[in-house]
């Protein structure tokens, strides 16, 4: 399966832990898992990462205070640059066990070995299930294309061994990118130095964005998320009914969803009668 010019393996293949994954997995380059570090103690809230994200992805300017189809990364709280004393980074956490991907009826979301969780807009049918499944509420739906959008961890750059564009833009040394081992070592070192905690290591069974937080997560605008893999979620009945009864995804898209459900019925439990998995 060709996605963004990179190879994605067929779904159901075991991940690195040998478990069957309810979504496509793929490899961008060398397969080494990577992670982003965000250090809140160094962040000055300048939003250069937010604008850099827009620059690389050619997203419209403005509306930078809330996640939306043109803003995949926000800095919290939503106040003017530099005017808060505690900052948080809000964007896709690139979960090791992405609930968004597990609920997608058409397998439009791929988890890459290098870390990125990426929505393929050509496959997405706009059902909004992923939006409801995400524990961090960082997926939005484009009014123009009707497809789900979110941060890609710059998978196109990571595939070429470059760091995400937001990371290279940070003028304050609050962002870093590297292999999971490097970033884990760096975050624990920084956390130890400032008495901070590391967020994202255990949440949702582990993520590829590690936050060094000087205050409790909620003060940085981060929700409490259980350590379960594919954390509990609730897709509203209205969304499900809308998916069946309206033109969402078109006839072709609906057919793809039905075909997927018939050929891989074991995936349906993640969407409809999901029980979070203990790590």
């Amino acid at each position: 399966m060709e996605r963004f010019g990179m190879t994605a393996t067929t779904n159901g293949q075991p991940g690195t832990d040998g478990q069957r994954r309810p979504y496509p997995t793929g490899r961008l380059s060398d397969g080494k898992p990577r992670a982003i570090m965000f250090d809140s103690s160094a962040c000055i809230g300048c939003r250069q990462c937010v604008e850099a994200c827009k620059d690389w992805n050619e997203l419209p300017r403005g509306n930078t205070y809330k996640i939306n189809p043109s803003t995949w990364l926000t800095m919290e709280p939503p106040v003017l640059e530099g005017t808060a004393s505690i900052w948080g980074r809000n964007s896709c956490m690139h979960c090791e066990y992405p609930a968004c991907a597990s609920v997608c009826p058409v397998e439009a979301i791929t988890k890459y070995d290098e870390g990125p969780v990426v929505i393929d807009p050509n496959i997405c049918i706009g059902c909004e299930y992923c939006i409801h499944a995400c524990p961090w509420d960082v997926i939005s739906k484009s009014d123009v294309t009707g497809r789900a959008t979110k941060c890609t961890m710059c998978s196109d750059r990571v595939g070429k061994d470059q760091q995400p564009f937001c990371v290279q833009a940070c003028p304050a040394g609050a962002l870093a990118f590297g292999t999971v081992e490097e970033i884990e070592a760096q975050t624990s070192e920084r956390a130890a130095a400032t008495g901070a905690t590391v967020y994202g290591l255990r949440e949702a069974g582990g993520t590829h964005v590690l936050h060094v937080l000087t205050q409790p997560p909620e003060e940085h605008g981060m929700p409490e998320v259980s350590s379960d893999r594919y954390p509990a979620h609730h897709i509203p009945l209205a969304t499900e009914i809308k998916g069946v009864l309206t033109l969402t995804g078109g006839v072709e898209g609906k057919l793809r969803a039905v075909k997927n459900a018939v050929s891989k019925p074991w995936r349906l439990k993640y969407r409809y009668w999901h029980k979070p998995e203990q790590p």
């Binding site: 000055i44 300048c46 250069q48 604008e51 850099a52 827009k54 620059d55 050619e58 419209p60 300017r61 403005g62 509306n63 930078t64 205070y65 043109s70 939503p78 106040v79 003017l80 640059e81 530099g82 005017t83 290279q168 833009a169 003028p171 304050a172």
Partner: protein
């Protein structure tokens, strides 16, 4: 709406084409706004054709070219016929370079009355203007009641500003942003100083940024309180990959300001002299007392890694107060000049920005008043019994309000300017004053520095000057320049060094880049910027061409003055004598540029292709720069 001012020259009639005949280069949005405050109309017009853009790029040069086309030379700064041209450049707001933040406004200077006024600013506002879809704004006419301009892409309207008239710049910014309903709306506004036509009133934007030198006063005369802008568009880029590459090289040349640099006496610390006691002392004592205990937060401009702007949360006596600044630090020298020290300096600096008064205008006016009071020329009964005691924060605080609102005899004269105050004081006050052609130099103790002094003297007086030269050739220009190192105490070479620096600084602003984000003294510092311009626009500008574009801007600036009666001689004759006195103390004691005057200034004009007495460009200078249309203003043979 027709262009209503007389236009000379057939070639200029179609400056703003109805239908574009040439392709728009990358980086530009392609539209300007023409706001007529008399008629209450807002109109989007086409940006000039490509050959005009290639010649002037944007910023000061394009703005001045528009003014020269549209405004007759008898129009005074506060007249309804006066115009303001606010321009960004192609590099503004691409996001892929540092420093792509500049907006430069030009207008007739209210301070000098016969030269070009220029106010330039960075931050986020200029980027937001481009995001709204516009490269610049031409403001003309005069409203009969306070208004502000609201721009949200295709929605452009004048709104009633009576609710914010009289308010400081901080409160105005907050209120208008809240009213817009969008948290990321950007506001540029004037304070009470602009409303009351203080000759050097500023436009203040994004808290930390100011466009000084009378722009606020011209806006005040038009009853235009603010320009509120937002948008979602982005400039088209010709070669994104090349721009990312050039932007990263450019970024690599920058030296970021660190927190420690915000805890000292500012710029003058680097050569060991600050302005004190109305320029009668220069040595640094405990002026920065307590600064190291303040909590400093950098607030960099849009996508810039230079980290100039900063906030401080004050400790000590003014515990918890928040103050907002940019690079430069003229405000520190402003209050050091009145013998204020410690955090009171930062408190008063915040006040002056909130009121919207240019630092040096106040520093040199108030400094003169204090000296006149000390020497008995100014009596308490003339100023309502006030005692002008050096270092008295409460008195300075009160003077700021008096100046911004033209209260009382002294408040009114502080509003007019130091030169006017000296004339009103009479006696020897004319010998104690610092001014340049009725404007004021940037407030630093420049007198030990030859190149910088030359820069301050030849600048329009209605603007913060650019350049100042370097003792050695910037590495990127070594292919064409071979001179230096220059002696700091001999005049030889400084005129040319300054001309060159004026050219490259100008070119930075014209492309829409901040000259604070330019580090020409390291390899690739200038070249990476020009490569970024080329990647953005699709042009193939060489360094020589870039310097010529800067030179063109210098010549247009002086033609604007020539049309209004300025002559080069004013640069050394219309100067407050104190500014030319030998340094009174410290390591530079006794040095003065005066012994090189007027020769060094005359050399500057000659070497830049202008007549040394009149400042008019020679015909061959105009021909070389493609400015033949201004031949009537050239030097006579």
């Amino acid at each position: 709406m027709a262009i209503d001012a007389p236009v000379s020259g057939a070639a200029r009639d179609n400056l703003f084409p109805k239908v574009r005949r040439t392709p728009l280069p990358g980086g530009y949005m392609g539209k300007l706004l023409r706001i007529d405050l008399t008629a209450g109309t807002c109109q989007a017009i086409e940006l000039p054709e490509e050959p005009v853009l290639r010649k002037y790029w944007g910023g000061q040069a394009l703005g001045t070219y528009i003014l020269l086309n549209e405004m007759t030379s008898d129009v005074e700064a506060f007249s309804p016929q006066s115009k303001i041209a606010m321009m960004t450049g192609p590099v503004t707001g691409t996001g892929l370079t540092p420093g792509g933040t500049k907006m430069t406004a030009v207008y007739p200077s209210p301070a000098t009355r016969n030269t070009l006024g220029r106010g330039a600013t960075s931050g986020f506002w200029g980027v937001a203007l481009k995001s709204a879809g516009y490269d610049g704004i031409i403001i003309q006419g005069q409203s009969d009641h306070p208004v502000y301009l609201y721009i949200d892409e295709d929605r452009v309207e004048l709104r009633d500003a009576r609710a914010v008239w009289g308010k400081g710049t901080r409160q105005t910014e907050d209120m208008l942003r809240r009213q817009s309903g969008h948290q990321d709306t950007r506001v540029a506004c004037i304070g009470p100083a602009g409303e009351n036509l203080i000759h050097a009133a500023m436009l203040v934007n994004d808290y930390n940024h100011v466009a000084a030198h009378g722009l606020g006063a011209v806006m005040g005369s038009k009853k235009l309180k603010a320009i509120v802008v937002r948008g979602t568009r982005r400039p088209p880029i010709k070669d994104k990959e090349a721009l990312i590459n050039a932007g990263q090289r450019w970024r690599g040349t920058l030296r970021a300001f660190d927190i420690k640099s915000r805890q000292g006496v500012g710029h003058g610390g680097s050569w060991g002299a600050i302005t004190r006691h109305n320029w009668r002392a220069t040595t640094i004592e405990d002026h920065a007392r307590g600064f190291d205990r303040n909590r400093i937060t950098p607030r960099p401009c849009f996508q810039c890694a230079r980290m100039c702007p900063w906030d401080a949360e004050l400790h000590g006596e003014r515990e918890g107060e928040i103050v907002h600044f940019n690079a430069g630090s003229e405000w520190l020298d402003t209050f050091f000049n009145l013998d204020i020290t410690g955090n009171d300096v930062l408190y008063l600096s915040e006040r002056i920005n909130d009121l919207g008064i240019e630092c040096s205008h106040f520093a040199d006016g108030a400094g003169l008043a204090f000296e006149a009071f000390e020497k008995g020329l100014l009596k308490p009964q003339q100023i309502g019994g006030m005692e002008l005691k050096w270092g008295d924060t409460a008195v300075v605080d009160k003077l700021l309000d008096m100046c911004a609102r033209r209260e009382g005899w002294l408040g009114n004269l502080l509003a007019e300017g130091p030169k006017e105050l000296a004339e009103a004081l009479g006696g020897d006050a004319k010998q104690w004053v610092v001014h340049t052609k009725g404007g004021t130099p940037a407030q630093h103790e420049w007198r030990p520095l030859l190149g910088n002094m030359l820069r301050e003297l030849v600048a329009s007086g209605g603007m913060k000057p650019q350049g100042g030269g370097s003792a050695t050739v910037p590495p990127d220009l070594k292919y064409r320049e071979n001179w230096g190192p220059l002696s700091p105490t001999e005049s030889e070479g400084w005129a040319w060094s300054h001309i060159l620096s004026e050219q490259y600084r100008q070119s930075s602003g014209l492309m829409g880049a901040c000259w604070f984000a330019m580090n020409q003294m390291v390899p690739d510092g200038y070249k990476s910027m020009i490569d970024a311009l080329n990647a953005t626009t699709g042009w193939n500008v060489t360094l020589d061409e870039a310097l010529d574009v800067g030179h063109r801007s210098m010549i247009l600036q002086s033609i604007f003055g020539t049309q209004r009666g300025w002559i080069a001689e004013n640069d050394w004759t219309d100067v407050g004598p104190r500014f030319l006195e030998p340094i009174p103390d410290g390591e530079h004691k006794g040095f003065t540029i005066a012994k090189f005057l007027p020769d060094i200034i005359q050399e500057y004009y000659r070497l830049s292709g202008r007549d040394e007495m009149t400042g008019r460009p020679f015909k061959d200078t105009l021909e070389r720069l493609g400015l033949q249309e201004f031949a009537e203003w050239s030097a006579s043979e």
